[in-house]
Amino acid sequence: MSRDLVVQASGLTKTYHKGDIAITPVDGADIDVAAGELVAIMGPSGSGKSTLLHLLGGLDKPDQGSCSIGGTDITSMSERQLCDFRATNIGFVFQVFNLIPVLTARENIDLPLRLLSLSRERRQQQTEAALELVGLADRADHLPAQLSGGEEQRVAIARALATDPKVILADEPTGNLDEDSGQLVMDILQTLTRDYGKTIVVVTHDSQKAGYADRVLFVHKGRLVTERPGSVREVA
């Protein structure tokens, strides 16, 4: 496996305060993700896996530790710098899809591309390519309400990869989907790494879905406790 690291985080720590109570969902986590890897972060509810993903994506700031994406340290960036950085370097997929209901699938995918200095033709090419990759070219002009949950999540994946980011961070992408749709989404994520060299970090509590990953990291009480290679891919 290439050791060209896309994600490098060390000693990440995040503490929240609720009144007098301090909660530390991420406590000194170290994580490296190589280019082209599909890494799953697993753990029980409340173990801090989503918080860890948010720290990796610059959605939240760590109290301690550092995080680099593609060799750029994001921990010291301002909110504005983080927004600009995320626009070109990080793609997000959320559990609840978060598509804009008044925009069609195509328009939703085009949205992050509008932040970049691309010509209209280039944006169209990248949007169509992303739609093709997730197999939704024929549903491009449908509104989210006209799509199934699985299709909505595939649009969300297309939106995340349309800008060709260095890494895609997916937070429980199959959490709101039925079994078949969930497997289809994981198949797409796996294809994106295997055939297109994308780097993806997936948070899941489902061991079967985690099996699609090259590596599975287990989180317990904010710490990465064990690591094992994925299984499905090896079988496949």
Binding site: A87, F94, I100, V102, A160
Partner: protein, 376 residues
């Protein structure tokens, strides 16, 4: 960057059609109320102000808040005329009549024709003038009364409430001193019908070219300082404005109501936008996650607000314009000028900016991670 998001902003506006339409209608009504009220004030005050000159002086009874309540003895005219620096003076007995279902306001001026012509530079053709001065039941009318009431030369009019029947001898055009919706009637005839013999309301004074109007004002008031009825002299312009203020005070209240309507609309628009932002909290979090900066988010929300305001302002002003333009006689009194349109448009934009700025800043300040944790 904001222009690239224009299609997205436009679709956001129509996300909740009912709310957006209500906001637009609210702004439209507020702008319409503002424009219509100011047009009415314009319509009613301009004819009075338009007739007034800053050189001409008016003398009325001191301490009378309303010009209709001013009573001066007719003999004061001769005393004023005798004051050094007065070129000409004419007494005027005034009253107001409201005519027709359109409730057109007519300002009557009872004057002695030859005297009055020496103080006011209105234009009227020789035949009309001769007919007016030779017949004590003849009247001259401002051109607005012709257009508002359809009156024409030769018509006999009946101002029943004032007990006046008169024949229109001529129409005074807008050139020169514009009589607008004023009417000139023989003072003697007017006094007889009203039972006000020997009484006038005020005196119009034309200062001599060498005289200083401000000094002359003082001289006139000093001349009557020890008389049973003291006087208060002001320029015709000031006088006209006082008449406006006296008679049209209620319009000020209407204007205040208009301002209140605009403020309420602004609050409603702001609340509507704030609701719209609250409903989209998670979405805003997603937008920030994929790279939308706080300033872009702020700009987008503000742009939504401004677009709603522009549409609302356009509808409101368009409606006001349509009514003034096609409302017929009843709306002749309205005067919707460029100034009102400009201020109305600025008002709509102000509502858009002030109504949208707080929700926009709040949206920009939302923490990405907090937005994404919002349920629903």
């Amino acid at each position: 960057m904001l222009t690239k998001m224009a299609p997205f902003i436009w679709k956001n506006i129509w996300r909740n059609k009912r709310r957006s339409i209500l906001i637009i209608l609210g702004i439209a009504v507020a702008v319409f109320v503002y424009a219509a009220l100011n047009a009415a004030v314009n319509g009613l005050t301009f004819p009075i102000k338009g007739t007034a000159s800053s050189q001409i002086l008016n003398v009325r009874e001191a301490g009378r808040a309303q010009v209709l309540a001013s009573k001066l003895p007719e003999i004061y005219v001769d005393r004023v005329r005798a004051i050094d620096g007065v070129q000409a003076a004419a007494g005027v007995l005034t009253d107001i009549a409201i005519v027709g279902t359109a409730r057109v306001h007519i300002f009557l001026r009872g004057v002695q024709p030859d005297e009055y012509r020496l103080v006011e530079d209105f234009i009227v053709d020789d035949i009309a003038w001769e007919n007016f001065r030779s017949d004590r039941r003849a009247i001259l009318i401002g051109h607005r009364l012709q257009s508002q009431l359809g009156w024409n030369i030769g018509d006999q009019i009946d101002l029943g409430a004032l007990g006046i029947r008169a024949v229109i001898a001529g129409i005074v055009p807008p050139q020169g001193v514009d009589l607008e919706n004023h009417l000139l009637i023989h003072q003697g005839y007017f006094q007889n019908n009203r039972g006000l013999e020997g009484q006038i309301s005020y005196i119009v004074v034309r200062p001599a070219p060498s005289a200083s109007p401000s000094e002359l004002r003082q001289l006139i008031d000093d001349a009557f300082a020890y008389s049973p009825i003291t006087t208060e002299t002001a320029s015709a312009q000031e006088f006209a404005e006082e008449i406006v203020n006296d008679f049209l005070d209620f319009l000020v209240y209407l204007k205040v109501m208009g301002v209140i309507a605009v403020l309420i609309t602004m609050l409603a628009a702001a609340n509507g936008l704030a609701m719209s932002v609250r409903e989209r909290t998670r979405e805003i979090g997603m937008l920030k996650a994929i790279g939308f900066t706080p300033s872009l988010i702020c700009g987008m929300v503000l742009a939504e607000s401004l677009l709603l305001a522009i549409v609302g302002g356009f509808v409101g002003l368009g409606f006001a314009w349509t009514i003034v333009g096609t409302g017929g006689t009843a709306m002749e009194v309205l005067a919707l000028d460029r100034n009102i349109l400009t201020v109305g448009a600025a008002l709509a934009l102000g509502v858009g900016i002030l109504g949208g700025i707080v929700p926009a800043i709040n949206a920009a300040r939302l923490k990405t991670i907090d937005c994404l944790h919002v349920v629903g």
